[in-house]
Symmetry: C2
Subunit: 157 residues, 2 copies
């Protein structure tokens, strides 16, 4: 199965992106058995990159397994941490996924919802490249920061 071959290169420049670094931290936090010991950042974050070829190998309809669900939760935790750093305010993520892989992800600051995503086809969760992961996540972080500026009172309530 070609899906187990690593697609993220160890010299991918986006490994230095702040969000990607946070993502690796969150995945490391999940690794309670020390499986990742000695692994490069590229190898740890690799399963979140779904190239066209990898995507082809995943059935269109399917139930997400526990590892995939844990990765999605790690993704939103990483987002919450990044938003926290950006805004200086405590951010909490909440991910609600049904057995069929549908759900909703929220990130909240005080009484303000700064990220609100409908989730679908969670068993196919991933990004085409680290570049895409960085770009999409940075956009969400920026938007969250803008919302906090706009609705500061609700965010600090």
């Amino acid at each position: 199965m070609s899906a187990v071959l690593q697609v993220v290169e160890d010299n991918d420049p986006y490994l230095d992106n702040l969000f990607v670094t946070e993502m690796v931290n969150q995945l490391n936090a999940l690794d309670s058995y020390g499986t990742y010991e000695g692994w490069s950042k590229a190898k740890i974050v690799d399963p979140l990159v779904l190239t066209k070829e990898r995507k082809k190998e995943i059935p269109i309809i399917g139930d997400p397994d526990e590892i995939t669900i844990a990765r999605v939760k790690a993704y939103y935790s990483a987002l919450a941490c990044s938003i926290e750093k950006e805004t200086g305010l405590m951010a909490v993520s909440l991910v609600n996924i049904s057995h069929e892989g549908f759900g909703r992800a929220l990130i909240m600051i005080g009484k303000l919802i700064v990220v609100d995503k409908t989730l679908r086809d969670i068993h196919r969760f991933g990004f085409r490249s680290l570049e895409e992961m960085s770009a999409q996540s940075d956009k969400l972080i920026e938007k969250a920061n803008m919302l906090v500026e706009k609705y500061k009172a609700a965010a600090t309530d």
Copy 2:
């Protein structure tokens, strides 16, 4: 088992409370097999009333069953509907419960969180009386309404 004896009287004045009426509607909506046909409002809402005697019969530690979880979700749906009527704005509830009966319930209007409750011991979810249910719920509805007034822009974003 005395827990199956109805404790809500058919002439309980709080059966006319707006929230309690909404609660009965939500429970009715769950009743896909028509079990409640011919039941009085009092009988339908009865399982949500946990008198001291009923509470004693429920173990302190326990996992919530599906019916209890469905009732908790119905409760927050009823709250969301009542808040919607009060504020004139669409309210959405989201209830996240782990297998161990812990979790979080949110009600959101636009980008504003108007109800945010930590849930615990969900297998013991209930109110001492309909009076208590009305009083607690009316207080949450009022608070939500106040938050919408205060943070109108975030609620209508």
